[in-house]
């Protein structure tokens, strides 16, 4: 079937239109009026999110479109709404930073194009679509990482991101070409059926490994995490905040869809591999985070560790999709809120004190008690201490691991790692409350304040009443249950 109804494609169409409109407006609007662009972007993203949410229907199964290369199901819709939220928050984070950047308008359209790529990845159901959307996300992310063109660090981050990312996608596309040869199709379901009927060949295992490598880079899974700290440190802070949640979530979306659609026959094998890599990822992230002095770099390592926690959910989803998938989706939302909140506070502090080092937070509690208290709650959430969204998210992830039977030990690894992370997160809290007092934060740009409030309310809200979101996440994960 070609296109059955374009209505299901409405969020994507809206987002494409929005991105192109912002691009063109930037060219023809007079310089002074360009501040409407972020406003337009936020409103547009709100509409995209609403359009996606309106497609939500717990009863409906997956609808395949465009010759089965694109699927609309609750899993994809959940992620589309999520990505629209990511986009909106990142736009709010960026407004202040962009005041002193020369090329102003491009930023918004680039951001919208990455979001488009991510939204497409959520629904991609064909190797070709996955590759196209994946590259749309990657190529534009490289540019965003190097957005501060006069800053050598930003350029260096862009180059490293580019070289690692492009090699990873080269490896992935080679794996995909082998898969196409083995299954005779690029459609995920057809591939899954054909691969399930034959026995596991070495070539099939190789293809799996190659594709996993490519996706592993995107989500910064160890041992493919080397690019992550440098890129996160060098990229402009709002972009770092975006990279740590956006493309990562999109990578997880593809990883899950891929693993559960194409490789049911190789399930035990890839579970072993991913479980080992998850353990490695958690330890690498947490242990290397301990000695970081730069907060952006610390958050980079922490984001590697969080990718490790999420991988627990992916492994568990292999045996118990009803537990693993909702846990992953829930944790993505919780991580978005606490991480973007932390980045917003970092931007606020760096703006007044001119440093991105942890020492910038020293004595924050005296000068800005509210900001310090918020940061404390976000740090508690990142560690996984109640009553926060991070705690509930981790609880669901570990519960999924225990529920899956074989993989219960991943929960143990996760708990040990949370204990390690307590050390470096609480180090920041200690500095804030017992460090040398410093002047209060003079300027509080409106965009950043909104993000801080959203993060605070969201994190506490998810911690106290997790059930509504969890119910939605369960419906989104229903799709793969019973496979």
């Amino acid at each position: 079937m070609p296109v059955t109804n374009l209505q299901l494609f409405l969020p994507e169409l809206l987002l494409t239109g929005l991105a192109l409109a912002v691009l063109l407006l930037d060219l023809w609007l007079p310089r002074a009026r360009r501040s409407v662009l972020p406003v337009l972007s936020v409103i547009g993203l709100l509409l995209v999110g609403l359009a996606a949410a309106s497609l939500w229907d717990p009863q409906r199964g997956p609808v395949y479109d465009f010759w089965n290369s694109y699927v609309t199901d609750n899993f994809a819709i959940f992620l589309k709404v999520f990505f629209a939220a990511v986009g909106g928050l990142v736009v709010l984070l960026s407004t202040d930073f962009l005041r002193d950047v020369r090329a102003y308008g491009e930023y918004w359209s680039l951001l919208l194009f990455v979001l488009l790529g991510m939204v497409l990845l959520a629904g991609a159901n064909d190797l070709i679509t996955i590759y196209l959307a994946f590259e749309l996300v990657s190529l534009v992310s490289y540019v965003l990482a190097g957005y501060r063109r006069e800053d050598p660090k930003s350029n260096e981050a862009a180059l490293k991101y580019f070289l690692y990312g492009a090699s990873a996608s080269g490896v992935m596309i080679y794996g995909m070409s082998l898969l196409y040869g083995l299954g005779g199709s690029t459609n995920l379901q057809v591939l899954g059926e054909r691969l399930a009927s034959g026995e596991v060949t070495p070539l099939g295992a190789l293809a799996l490994m190659l594709v996993l490598t490519g996706l592993g880079y995107k989500v910064a899974m160890a041992p493919f995490q080397a690019w992550c700290p440098d890129v996160y440190e060098g990229a402009p802070t709002p972009v770092t905040a975006f990279l740590s949640v956006g493309p990562k979530a999109a990578g997880f979306a593809v990883l899950i869809r891929f693993a559960l659609s194409v490789f049911p026959s190789l399930l035990p094998q890839w579970q072993v591999v991913v479980a080992i890599l998850a353990t490695l990822t958690m330890f690498v992230g947490n242990l290397l985070a301990i000695r970081q002095q730069n907060l952006k770099r610390l958050l980079a390592y922490s984001s590697i560790a969080h990718a490790g926690y999420l991988l627990i959910g992916v492994v568990a989803a292999g045996s118990q999709a009803g537990w693993g998938l909702p846990a992953v989706l829930f944790y993505l939302v919780a991580y978005l809120l606490m991480n973007l909140g932390a980045f917003a506070l970092l931007l606020l502090v760096a703006r007044t004190r001119g440093t991105e080092e942890i020492s910038g937070f020293s004595g924050l509690a005296q000068g800005a008690p509210f900001a310090a208290a918020t940061m404390l709650i976000l740090l508690l959430s990142l560690t996984g201490i109640p009553p926060t969204g991070g705690f509930v998210g981790k609880f669901y992830l570990f519960a999924a691991a225990i529920e899956s039977g074989t993989w219960w030990w991943l929960a143990l690894v996760g708990i040990i790692n949370s204990a390690i992370s307590l050390y470096y997160y609480m180090n920041i809290a200690r500095l804030m409350y017992f460090g040398q007092p410093a002047p209060e934060l003079v300027k509080r740009p409106a965009g950043l304040s909104v993000v801080v409030w959203v993060a605070l309310i969201g994190t506490l809200g998810l911690g106290l009443v997790p059930e509504p979101l969890m119910a939605l996440a369960r419906q989104a994960g229903m799709l793969f249950v019973g496979r």
């Binding site: 192109l20 691009l23 060219l27 023809w28």
Partner: protein, 125 residues
């Protein structure tokens, strides 16, 4: 099966042999008399000035990049043109394939407009 590649092997052998033979013969016949001028780079008879890694005008690079991207996008039009007749006959609405490709081209044109407006197509500025 191996025999079918025979001609290729023969061609390969002769090709390599001829090249080697020519060089060996020349080496045997020529007098050996090296001097400095012989070692110099030969470039249309002029004395080479400076290293070959000189700077090129930066505009070349921008225009080349814009060209490469648009050039490659054109490959999508060839398969479309090849099946256009069948496609518009097959679908109920004959104009659909045309509209689809128009959307594609309009998006490309927006890219071109962007490059133009940013002044990347100007030779001097």
């Amino acid at each position: 099966m191996a025999l079918e590649y025979g001609p290729v092997a023969v061609l390969l052998t002769f090709g390599v042999a001829l090249g080697v033979a020519a060089m060996v013969t020349a080496w045997l016949l020529r007098p050996s008399d090296p001097y400095a001028a012989k070692q110099a780079v030969y470039e249309c008879g002029m004395e080479p000035i400076g290293p070959a890694w000189s700077q090129f005008y930066a505009r070349y690079y921008l225009i080349a990049l814009v060209f490469v991207v648009f050039d490659v996008e054109a490959i999508f039009l060839f398969p479309w043109a090849a099946v256009f007749k069948q496609l518009s006959a097959a679908t109920a609405m004959g104009a659909v394939p045309l509209v689809e490709v128009a959307v594609f081209i309009v998006i490309l044109l927006i890219g071109l407009a962007y490059a133009w407006r940013k002044g990347d197509l100007e030779w001097t500025r």
